[in-house]
Amino acid sequence: MNILDGLLIGLQSAMDPVTLLYCFIGVFLGTLIGVLPGIGALATISLLLPVTYHIPPTAAIVMLAGVYYGAQYGGSTASILLNLPGTPSSAVACLDGYPMAKQGRAGVALFMTTIASFVGSMLGILMLVLFAPGIAELGLKFGPAEYFAMMLLGLIAASTLASGSPAKGLSMVVLGLLLGTVGTDINSGATRYTYDIPELMDGISLVALAMGVFGISEVISSINQVRESEVKEKISMKTMTPTSNDVKQSVMPMLRGTGIGSFFGALPGTGAAIASFMAYAVEKKVSRTPEMFGRGAIEGITAPEAANNAASQTSFVPTLSLGIPGDAVMALMLGALIIHGIQPGPLLMTQQPDLFWGLIVSFGIGNIMLMVLNLPLIGVWVAILRIPYRVLYPAILVFISLGTYSVHNNEFDIYMVAIVGAVGYALAILRFEAAPLLLGFVLGPLMEENLRRAMLLARGDMMTFLERPISAGFLGVCFALVLWSGFSTLKRWLRARERKADFVST
């Protein structure tokens, strides 16, 4: 099916009134929670998962996706006004956005980031449309060995490219994989790690895990945090208009940011956050005035914002066409799709074209809605930021409890969230990244299945991974990544020793 036919089917599917409604709800909610620090797309999507049981699958995924890329619009608002990121990928916007606000240019900053987000998203969608079908066709040639190798690459990329030491990231991935084995093994029917608790026969609930690890631990860490100065500025249409210089300076950064974002978004294991950091770093290197960065350089916010929006769109490429999630949020989306009985992968395009193309078209519609929503509503978001956290978090906790309960109408799930929340808090305190854990958890059963099948087909010959060209390619990149991260850890260690030696000798 060619792209134009696909887009037409998608348009029909996306223009359905129910789907449109949920698209709107998704992007509105997404911007809202993106604006609020302390609640992110991850926690919100987990909370909405039980809700999606009651609505048609296409509308459900459209809504969840709307929350995801909508959050990338709102995230920079808190970064600019409060020096507190609303989402992890907006952390970079604090660096130049907050100084701009202090210079009285908050309105301009907010306006330009909205435009940058729009540009990044639309071009990202274009990439998605152009490349997803091609990659899906490539994916049809994938056998279990290739899938296993690609998932392995995704997990290794997630653990080595994330912040912190690669060993810690890898250990989180392995822990996630282990947690994924809890429950009934589909192949043999044997129960693993269930300790005769009937609720665990289906495994640990994804919703409980996600909400516990991300939602609960975020709440615990955010209570009693001292917030910096209150939002004092008045934002009006006049204060938001950028100068022509601002616009001129932002065109290239937006385009560069979009390119970087599209690339990192499509890569398994990397997502919007890494894309925005890379875009900032590149802008700084390329700029003729690098000393302006950190002091209110407008390129410092438009490039990362374009990047994280582009990444949030292109990260659907591996998820939809291959069934491999790029980051924790995509892992959740994958989980949501599977819960609805939809198997993402190369066959999705041919078996469910209305879902596939409808989703893509809804991205475009959603982004237009966001543009229209965000510009006049910036004042509303600013007002919402004034609600103190101590009023919000009890509500969040009750919503988490009820949301988890509603999945199986069983209080056991709430106790599960509490336990997982404690573990998640422990991870946060010990500075272990939680996102690789979620990725490992979602991919675990899939990886085991593919490994099993690959070994069955190859009659136990491990060399099959290297003999097949595509899987050998993936394994090669894995190897390179492991080497590279080992190398940089070594470099860091040597440099630290040098510094200590200098310190002692002076």
Partner: protein, 148 residues
Amino acid sequence: MKSKDSRDIIGGLALSVIGLYAAFQARDYEFGSLTHMGPGYFPVGLGLLLAVLGVAVAVPAFFREGEPLKVEWRTLALVLGSLVAFAAALKTLGLVAATVLAVVVSSLADRQTRWKGRLFIAAGVTLVTYLVFALSLGMVLPVWPWSA
């Protein structure tokens, strides 16, 4: 007196213990062979791998300095307590009582909230919860203590 990087030490050792335990538990599951992997293959392999990684994380930490560990025990207990209270009270006391209880417990964690504010927040959250979950989403739940 330099403090060791306690975070990685505790984390690494804990992970190793979990890994060893997982591999130990899985020894009863059928292992199978490489060609026909049984249910025990993956868990044992992963458990051992985790144990190794845990050591890899903990050992370098002995030679490193780190910041002291800060745990918010009170907040942790209150947040978890709020969840447990809600779960326990939901079917026995109804939605309203469970929500109020949960909000009161969790709001105790914030040092700025006073009792009057606490009750206001409880009332507000209960109202929103009722509207969103019971009315709009149509969840079947006992609402008042006497209907439970």
